[in-house]
Symmetry: C3
Subunit: 158 residues, 3 copies
């Protein structure tokens, strides 16, 4: 990658590592119930779409509050295992990424633990502070005992 | 890696990223039921071994047809989470790789969802079109409600 | 990363790949029941903490014996899926790393298979032979049918 002309749309190994690390930081702080730190991986104006049952969350402050509420009201523990990270340049200081997530969730309600097999579809933007997540959409291949009724599908062909 | 002499058997960061991405593309298109696109990650003469119950599939066209048939007849949904990617050079424009896969599978038959904990053992070849998978063997550490009787073992010592 | 001044505390792409590979080698040899080879990813004086029910294991020879004993007495099969690898420099020839592990375990006792969702918190040291794990602590977010009573927690806020 270092030999590619810098056309404003390439990503070097450091960019790719920094972008993947945002996803891992998201999981890390989510699983540790640290909503403020979850917020820090997003841009100020980021959107986070856990829908379609919930409206898209817009803005870092709203993301922090939504994460805090979920952890306070729904979860006692969770673990988000992220893999299959695929990053593409999307213009100068922009990138897109798809990744897989396998999550385990324990509920305050005492309901059976939930499993979810899904994907994060993200857009990233580089600011003076470094790369941040500008958009995250959760898409789901399958669920078991998960606390949600419907989720955005991964787009599997019938 | 960029400082290594190019002895025809080294892999730089870009090669490694491209090779790992083939595995992620395989999972992505498999899970989206896109057999043609699954075929595109393989060389024309690639072999794919899901055995020992099935004969090794030889050739991209045959891989596409086998994937299409499996998705049409057996699966309604699946998610292949790939990790532990270890890549080694194997001569000029050649590489080998082992990776882990944790897969979740939902069946058309209505049978309980299946889990599989396994490994992909692969060989890669670089052509004018870039890196492609030349050989893939699925080896399995464990299964739960999986639709297969026997699988190639990972080679655990007794 | 190649443009950073070498202040003795930076890690290039090759270092990061070598460090992540140690975790994958640990899983690979553990799952294949190869205790000697598990030992080789650690420094001579490494510590391995699967506690708090067990005392921290100190030294490569003791690690090999503990792994051999566990595989001989407890496990018939296992698969350790490692993801979310985050590596930081920690001074010259030193690094720290957190990673996630999702493990599946089959027991000699015939008990139901176990799942574990956890994290490896590690320190690494570079010697003349390359990078090695100097310290590994297993922390756990959740368990299902796992053979352990209590584990080091991941540090989730209440």
């Amino acid at each position: 990658m270092t030999n590619r002309p810098n056309d404003g749309a390439s990503l070097d190994a450091e960019d790719r590592a920094a972008i993947a690390d945002l996803l891992y930081a998201y999981a890390w702080h989510l699983d540790r119930n640290e909503p403020e730190e979850v917020g820090e991986v997003f841009t100020d104006d980021a959107s986070l779409d856990y829908g379609p049952e919930f409206p898209t969350i817009i803005g870092r402050r709203q993301i922090v509050e939504a994460v805090a509420r979920g952890q306070r009201e729904i979860f006692t523990a969770c673990s988000h295992h992220i893999s299959n990270v695929r990053i593409s340049p999307d213009g100068p200081d922009r990138a897109t990424c798809t990744s897989y997530v396998y999550s385990w969730t324990q509920y305050r309600s005492g309901a059976p633990d939930g499993d979810m097999w899904g994907q994060y579809h993200c857009r990233f933007r580089r600011s003076a502070d470094g790369w941040r997540i500008a958009e995250m959409v959760l898409r789901v291949a399958g669920m078991k005992n998960f606390h949600r009724g419907s989720m955005h599908p991964i787009g599997r062909r019938p």
